[in-house]
Symmetry: C2
Subunit: 132 residues, 2 copies
């Protein structure tokens, strides 16, 4: 599908300072995605997108990831109700990572374990402690 094709930046300047979205997918065709809560700033989850997931995310205005475990496109919340409405999308300097600021719908959660955020444990003195 043509919608899943993105250009490649011709040089470093275009990649880092250009206005053309030229995402760099890795050897597996994936790019990293950091998702934060648009209101609290909390990091909710970390996931991956392939070109199709990115194209669908841009089209929908909702987060669509690529599930590496299920090896398929994953419209977050399609079954759980935890749809992520995108408030802002940013990309990093070398265009291999996206930052989504979202408003989680449904019960407001993002993590399959049942927590609001996947990052519910703090590393303290080498141990993990669950903390909101």
């Amino acid at each position: 599908m043509s919608m899943t094709e993105f250009p490649t930046a011709p040089d470093k300047t275009a990649l880092e300072r250009g206005e053309v979205l030229a995402p760099r997918f890795d050897a597996n065709g994936l790019m990293a995605v950091v998702t934060t809560h648009a209101e609290t700033g909390e990091v909710l989850m970390f996931a991956w997108m392939n070109a199709e997931a990115l194209a669908r995310t841009l089209e929908l205005g909702e987060a669509v990831y690529f599930s590496r475990s299920r090896n398929e496109i994953w419209h977050k919340g399609a079954t759980s109700g935890q749809i992520q409405k995108i408030v802002e999308m940013r990309i990093d300097c070398d265009q291999d990572c996206l930052w989504l600021k979202v408003l989680p719908q449904g019960d407001g959660g993002a993590c399959h374990v049942g927590f609001r955020s996947c990052f519910y444990r703090v590393v303290e003195d080498g141990k993990l402690v669950e903390r909101p």
Copy 2:
């Protein structure tokens, strides 16, 4: 070095709810790291750690990454002065991603392009716009 050895969680419950730090490194021996500013919540950068980088980060209380481009341990700020003092470290549900809340030292920046954060561009209507 024994300091770079971490245990493997024996099962899903231990991985997701346990108090033992059992980081899951990928096929390249790396895990994803999201770094935010401890005071503003802004996502500053996205990077990687191998076991040695994680062990040194825990020991130092400062972010030590693994540079994939240089293929070496990278004590952030060692040359730039942009040392990242760790205020809190969190790990996600399946222990393959870390979230560091840091206080950037030196000029307060984190990005090699010169911006405070690597995410200095917003994706808007398919175009990239530089915005603080």
